[in-house]
Symmetry: C2
Subunit: 132 residues, 2 copies
DNA sequence: CTGCGACTTGAAGTGCGGTTCAAGTCAAGG
DNA sequence: CCTTGACTTGAACCGCACTTCAAGTCGCAG
């Protein structure tokens, strides 16, 4: 019917996700197939973009159900806007912490302390984030 | 015997980790109790520092067994040094990606697109990281 | 029409990082 | 001495994010 649709196998290959993961995401309501080719799911090309977003968010520490909420949200959902603001602060903290960890790792590679973990410079990473 | 040792309950409270998590870490070889007070585990104060390091690394995406390896490593372990270098690159990429995601979230909070995920500015976050 | 191979389904299994449970043990206080 | 309460143990269970499995179905090539 619509030859611009992409077969699940191709979506899997292009997105780097397993077909089983795509079906799993469908059950969770994160994506949906536009049609079928026989039994085979066929997806709109935009789905690839959506999957990239999903992967990105999941890597960032969002759960799949959080991602689902975000995907379904319109601009008028104030509760969700607030949660995104909260998530932004969370991600900011994470960036700070990971930056310190990166610096510590960078040092660890050339450090001569024994054991490594006792190196005061390495310990910079561990400085507590003031958490509420 | 040594009244500078800290009871597991206090370590749990001070570290923010559950006592069950401490026992779990012990089974995994990440920490060990210095002694016992009856049956109760008693830890050296430095253990709190170690736990902070463990939490930090785990939050950063290290698995507990990776963390165990790092904790046991001396300065002469070249294989480990290489893995740390690799991890440093990994963490760097993550910092970049999270920074983009943070910016997107920051924008999302004030964005008027419907649905939010279609906003081109929001999509900045999704730019693919060149992965090997 | 017959294979073949890539898909389909629901259900069960996996690995991680713990938590929870039941039954038992200990130290201190009354 | 007896209770109380925080610990002890191993084993079972949990949620998440998938993967794997068995059995079945489809489209296409020969």
């Amino acid at each position: 019917m619509d030859d611009t649709l992409i077969d699940i196998g191709d979506v899997a290959r292009q997105s780097g996700l397993a077909a089983s993961a795509l079906r799993f995401y469908e059950r969770k309501g994160l994506i949906q197939a536009e049609g079928r080719n026989g039994l085979r799911r066929a997806y709109r090309p935009e789905t690839l973009e959506r999957l990239a977003l999903i992967s990105c968010a999941r890597d960032a520490g969002f759960t799949l159900s959080e991602i689902g909420e975000f995907l379904r949200a319109g601009p008028s959902d104030e509760r969700l806007r607030a949660r995104m603001a909260a998530k932004e602060r969370e991600v900011s903290q994470r960036v700070d912490q990971l930056t310190r960890l990166r610096d510590s790792l960078r040092h660890a590679v050339v450090c001569t302390h024994d054991p490594l973990v006792e190196c005061p410079e390495f310990k910079q990473a561990v400085r507590r984030v003031p958490q509420g």
